[in-house]
């Protein structure tokens, strides 16, 4: 994968996958080239195929622990050091 705008692989945003989404993707985390949250979701579909699509419907995305619902949703911009956590709909407790 080509890092965007010339910064190195290690400096790209880190996308972490959780619970059943992690199971479906078969991967725990990866470095992303996305520049906003919407692009992360598209990238996930591209990367893991249709199998993950159902987990992404109604998923919860946090950028550095902040729910993007309270930031700018899919338009929330990502900086290189950001950590994006993607959770499928889940509850317990």
């Amino acid at each position: 994968m080509r890092p965007p705008r010339g910064y190195g692989y290690e400096e790209m945003p880190l996308v972490k996958l959780y619970a059943t989404l992690r199971k479906a993707a078969g991967e725990k985390e990866y470095r992303s080239r996305a520049r906003n949250v919407g692009q992360v979701l598209e990238e996930l579909r591209e990367r893991y195929g249709d199998g993950v699509d159902r987990y992404l419907r109604g998923c919860i995305v946090l950028v550095n622990g902040q729910n993007v619902g309270y930031l700018k949703g899919k338009r929330t911009k990502l900086k290189e050091e950001d950590e994006v956590s993607v959770f499928p709909p889940l509850a317990g407790g």
Binding site: Y18, A19, T20, R22, K23, R54, Y55, G58, I60, L62, N64, G65, Q66, N67, G69, Y70, S85, F87, P88, P89, L90, A91, G92, G93
Partner: protein, 688 residues
């Protein structure tokens, strides 16, 4: 004839060693469903509040609901109710497992136990009725052993047992009732009520088929629910990782309490204790309650090491948090061992974890000395101390004797009430109201004290459920607006779940539809339930329970949350700004030298009244000043948001809630509201 119920319960008097049947009028079933709703009605009609919690007259009610024992997904549950020895008010605890269907097949909707036996006994319930049998040989045995021995004794492996362990026998105030080793009626100390009555266990084995009003209709409702669960993401997550699937997400949003609610975030916690890690390491298989397709229970095995554990039930989320993150303990093995000990001794993991975390902080603050703890040095992340404390609590040894009374009593004696996290004496479960504001109202206004299962707010605030069918919009997780209406609607559903009786996981995972529930109950019982009627039933049950609370002495003053869980975390807030916003800041100033208590109080009062409510505005404007933004620790946009998020606008939400619920200044429901719901007798008892 109504379906889903038998129309009668067993009434057992242990003082007189008598067993009789009591017929319950059909309209009581219609108006109060069953489970804890019907129990509350019985309790009210028999003036249960006049009996002290630990006295022979306190009725212990083990109640099924209409759904119990059917193969409707999640309907494996029953309710154990009595006046709680821990809180002194109405106590109820819901239990899954496999006991409920067996009890249903005996031909009774429940068992009401009165009186107290002189010697240990157990109750054997079959199609022919109940028999009181000697249990002297079982006294002192843990719950795992008791269950096994009793199944062998009655000679039927399909018989089901609910029992207490040493904690219940020793009247630990938060002792629970256990079934199937890992299913518990956990909260409010129902095990202590059983222990006081010397009732070691109840064994049930039945073979009767109960009536269903509309077989085809009920089958269709059941299939609809099963179908919904098949495609539910929530159910899938629960099945794959158990209820502890919540740990990672919860930690990310600040919902998981750490170090007695002091820290907002502990990155390593979920890695060490979360459901995903358990599934990758010690999980051997999953397990389910009766007829449940979700199967969220974990069976684990720890093969070696100091916390070796034979294959058995593993921690669910509440145990992983209360006996894990709350103690800031990072050993998964020790956490599961602690959970197993609580199960064996028969103790509620939430209250047990809460009281240990309180004691640790009190020890740190010097309120508890080594002389009090019998030489034990309490501290965070000390697995061996944790396990030892659990044992001492169960046997009421040394400091365990004080801890067995719960945090409210203990903090009154030793001090530190500001960090004794409970409501009405019941220790708070492991969801932080600072992350999900709905939980603040849930805890404060739940009938039995701080409880997360009394309503569906947790699921609504997590964004998985809505109340559209009740005409209530979902509110933002950390905004006050709309929270009261959301909570009222959530409570209607919660009350229905605990009366019908159905597992909240299963129901909510399938979408939590009240219309579907009305359809299922209509087909099952034959009563003409609609969404509106069911909502009214939900209200009726809530109000009668609230009134029972009032009759037991609860007022508005009891609907309070400890300040610790309303204000920003003392540790672990995202920036150094916490020094400026947390009231403990005042104790960091050398006040000892100033010795001006009034000054301290006034300043703290001003801060609370003016500074905290406007903190977000102040910080946003500060952010614009160059002197702040040029400092090494630059204020980021999310900091003021973070601060606002974690200072819960509790009073505002509560006032609105009281208005919607029509609660007077003494905390009682108004006469008109009670009469509207057909509760004139309750209004008379309450208002004279």
């Amino acid at each position: 004839m109504m379906g889903g119920n038998w129309g009668k319960v067993l009434k057992v008097n242990l003082t007189e060693s008598t067993v009789e049947e009591e017929v319950i009028p059909e309209e009581h079933y219609r108006d109060f469903l069953g489970g804890s709703g019907l129990a509350a009605k019985w309790f009210f009609d028999h003036r249960g509040w006049e009996a002290e919690p630990l006295s022979p007259d306190n009725p212990l009610m083990i109640m099924n609901g209409p759904l119990s024992g059917t193969n409707y997904p999640g309907a494996s549950r029953l309710e154990v109710c009595a006046r709680s020895p821990l809180t002194g008010i109405w106590g109820e605890a819901s239990m899954g497992g496999h006991f409920s269907p067996q009890l249903k097949r005996t031909g009774y909707d429940g068992i009401i136990v009165l009186g107290a036996s002189e010697k240990p006994v157990y109750l054997y319930v079959t199609d022919e009725g109940a028999e009181i049998r000697d249990a002297s040989h079982l006294w002192g045995k843990d719950t795992y052993e008791t269950e096994e021995l009793l199944k062998r004794e009655v000679g039927d492996q399909r018989a089901q047992v609910i029992c207490i362990g040493p904690a219940g026998e020793n009247l630990v105030k938060f002792a629970n009732v256990m079934n199937d080793r890992g299913s518990t009626a956990g909260r409010c100390g129902m095990g202590a009520v059983m222990g006081y009555k010397r009732l070691k266990a109840v064994v049930a084995r039945g073979s009767k088929k109960f009536p269903v009003a509309d077989e085809a209709g009920f089958k269709a409702a059941r299939e609809k629910m099963s179908e919904a669960l098949k495609f539910s993401m929530v159910a899938e997550g629960l099945h794959a990782f158990g209820s502890n699937v919540h740990m990672e997400y919860g930690m990310a949003i600040g919902d998981v309490p750490v170090k007695n609610w002091r820290e907002a975030y502990w990155a390593e916690g979920p890695e060490k204790l979360g459901g995903t890690t358990v599934a990758e390491t010690i999980l051997t298989r999953t397990h389910s309650c009766f007829a449940c397709p979700v199967a969220c229970k974990r069976i684990v095995e720890i093969k070696e090491g100091p916390y070796r554990m034979e294959e058995g039930p593993g921690s669910e989320y509440e145990a992983a948090a209360a006996l894990g993150t709350l103690q800031r303990m990072d050993s998964m093995e020790a956490n599961h061992k602690a959970n197993e000990l609580c199960n064996r001794y028969g103790m509620d993991v939430i209250s047990c974890g809460g009281v240990i975390a309180y004691a640790t902080e009190a020890f740190e603050a010097g309120l508890l000395k080594e002389s009090d703890t019998g030489g034990l040095k309490l501290g965070w992340n000390q697995p061996d101390t944790l396990l030892e404390l659990i044992r001492r609590i169960a046997y009421r040894e040394g400091i365990g004797d004080e801890m067995a009374e719960g945090v409210r009593t203990m903090s009154k004696k030793f001090g530190g009430e500001e960090f004794a996290v409970h409501v009405k004496g019941l220790e708070c479960p492991m969801h932080d109201p600072r992350a999900l504001w709905g939980m603040a109202l849930t805890y404060a206004t739940s009938i039995r004290g701080a409880c997360h299962c009394a309503d569906a707010n947790l699921y609504v605030d997590l964004g998985l459920l809505n109340h559209n069918e009740l005409g209530v919009k979902r509110s933002w997780p950390y905004r006050a607006k709309g929270k009261a209406a959301q909570t009222v609607a959530s409570q209607k559903k919660g009350v229905i779940a605990n009366s019908a009786v159905i597992c909240q996981y299963a129901w909510n995972a399938s979408g939590g539809s009240l219309a579907d529930m009305a359809g299922a109950l209509r087909a099952l019982t034959g009563f003409p339930y609609t969404v509106e009627e069911l909502a009214r039933v939900g209200d009726r049950i809530w109000y009668i329970k609230r009134a029972i609370g009032n009759l037991c002495g609860a007022t508005r003053e009891d609907d309070r949350l400890p300040q610790r869980i309303l204000e920003p975390h003392p540790e672990g807030v995202t920036s150094s700004l916490h020094l400026a916003v947390f009231p403990q800041f005042m104790s960091m100033v050398p006040m000892g030298k100033i010795r001006a208590e009034r000054f301290k109080e006034t300043t703290a009062g001003l801060l609370k009244k003016y500074l905290f409510p406007n903190m977000d505005k102040i910080l946003t404007s500060l952010n614009k000043l160059p002197m702040f933004s040029m400092r090494g620790k630059k204020l980021e946009r999310r900091d003021p948001e973070e601060v606002r998020r974690r200072t819960v606008a509790f009073d505002e939400m509560l006032e609105e809630y009281y208005r919607l619920r029509d609660i007077d200044e003494k905390g009682r429901p108004s006469r008109s509201r009670l009469e509207e719901l057909g509760l004139k007798d309750v209004a008379d008892a309450l208002h004279g």
